[in-house]
Subunit: 328 residues, 2 copies
């Protein structure tokens, strides 16, 4: 069957049949709006992302099932960064007229599997054709107890900067692909199927550990920069402390300058958070519960917006603010 | 200045400065998520729309300021159709690299003006470049008292079918444009700057008048069809009762078959709702308060999914289900 035979409403019906679960949903897919309840005492957390073919992804570098998964993960990651539980998703798709139905089915399969993993329910969206690229727009709503959400703005001089997991794996995969090389399966997976750290974000927030938090989408330096702007603070990052995966280290040993991929490469989707020294003790238990390494990579200083890095030779430098700029 | 000199964050800062108002907003634009409160006792109403250049709009048929307004109106219209008050908007834009900054400024101007009109606040979004068309994705969150929301599913045999305003004006404008003619300013305005009926929707819902409601985006027959599917009912529509504007009538008199634009033309953004006969008396006051004509166009029948139309000669016929199908 082709997409045009199935029709818009047939396609929506097909998606609807794959949707399961969800609490507090009065009406999901199929009315003018979704109608929803939040848990009492919670605030609503909402964020949205747009993914455009040949800007955010290439169909020859990712299969559509993983693209479906990633569309959920990168969106849900922003709810994790506030310490919240993702609850409802909205998916809008604009696709080329000749888009294969099997491709869309794969995308939806990955999308709905990721929804189950994160315990979030697809409750709405929009579909249309596109005269150009495949376009994906995802909005997620989550919630968190009113006094528990963590913003970007609370970092204080003396706070310790932590990151979860390892840094630069996704950027390393992209770097190798762009140079015609084949990344190993670990690096590829980190690039095409990143995991949002929802359990970690919620555990940190519930324990009131972080003074500020953000997810790493634009790269460590750029995202730390956002925290500094919102907190009116500075930071010192130690290159030698950056947590690197074995796969990353193999490439890094051959080309030491690739440390920039851990500093400024995007799409890690790990959490970056600042912790007052008095609360550092609480991290051991949280790291064990979530089975994620939490690594100290630097500290917050009182020098407004000054972001410095100490390299492997002990030399301090001021990096250019890296990260991905869509308007360049 | 060009867009690439302003940069992504400069552009977001520019938008942020134009945002005003809003209640229950802990955090708006500028963190990983917006953080929001809803009024106590309310349910959350959320919907999303994607607009793609050359599919939903042509830049030579609309100016960008009106496109900004329309992007808000068509989205907010879905909240009106549930009887809710729109509260928060999220705007994602993908634009061609050479997109003029003045064009984006015009779009944002219209967008934010419409936000003020509907008392809704822009609290988040995403921006990126597009290798193809200009792409707009808007999500709106609204709310309504828990027992007041109106779904598509409540229509009962014997209920009277009402519509607000006049039908087919937007489709008539498009029809004339497609035939190289210039619609008058009334028809053009109905096409490029439709108004969402938020006050009407809220007033109807608060008075518990409609048994079912939907906004007219796909055309009367298609949208009535959605109500019939959700309500497991049938309907009879009277062509002679359709409310037509003076501008529509001028064209209709010359070509009577254009009545199909009032039956099946899309983008009216009026409300279609069904009313138990015992509650019809309440409509006079609501029509006066909202300064909108509310017109009886037919009735709900017990014949499951049977949708019939009586034409001007008194002849009954079963129309093909019209409306816009993006997959054709």
């Amino acid at each position: 069957m082709k997409l045009k035979d199935l029709g818009e409403f047939g396609f929506i019906e097909r998606i609807k049949q794959g949707v399961t679960g969800g609490q507090g949903i009065h009406l999901g897919i199929g009315d003018d709006c979704a109608v929803l309840d939040l848990p009492p005492g919670h605030v609503l957390l909402t964020t949205t992302d747009m993914l455009v073919e040949d800007i955010h992804f290439r169909r020859d570098w990712t299969d559509l099932e993983n693209l479906g998964r990633k569309s959920v993960s990168i969106n849900v990651s922003d709810v994790a960064a506030m310490g919240g539980q993702p609850r409802h998703l909205y998916l809008s798709l604009g696709f080329p007229k000749d888009f294969p139905l099997e491709g869309l089915d794969s995308f939806i399969k990955g999308f709905l599997e990721a929804c189950k993993d994160y315990e979030v329910t697809l409750v709405g969206g929009d579909t249309c054709s596109s005269p150009g690229p495949f376009v994906i727009s995802v909005t997620v709503e989550g919630s968190v107890a009113k006094n528990d959400y963590v913003a970007r703005r609370g970092a204080q001089p003396g706070d310790i900067i932590y990151v979860s997991g390892t840094l630069g794996d996704s950027a390393m995969a992209l770097h190798l692909l762009q140079n015609g090389r084949s990344p190993d399966s670990f690096l590829i997976d980190r690039h095409i199927n990143p995991q949002a750290r929802t359990f970690l974000g919620a555990a940190l927030a519930a324990a009131h550990v972080p003074s500020a938090m953000i997810d790493l989408s634009d790269g460590l330096l750029a995202d730390l920069g956002h925290i500094l702007e919102c907190s009116a603070a500075g930071a010192l990052v130690e290159e030698t402390l950056l947590p690197l995966s074995p796969s990353f280290r193999i490439e890094h040993e051959k080309a030491p300058e690739l440390i920039r991929l851990a500093l400024a490469g995007g799409e890690d989707y790990e959490l970056l958070f600042t912790v007052p020294p008095a609360k550092e003790d609480l991290l051991t238990g949280i790291s064990q519960t979530t089975a994620l390494p939490l690594t100290r990579v630097g500290r917050i200083t009182g020098e407004n917006l000054k972001l410095e890095v100490r390299d492997a030779n002990g030399v301090l430098y001021t990096p250019s603010r890296g990260g991905f700029n869509h308007f360049r």
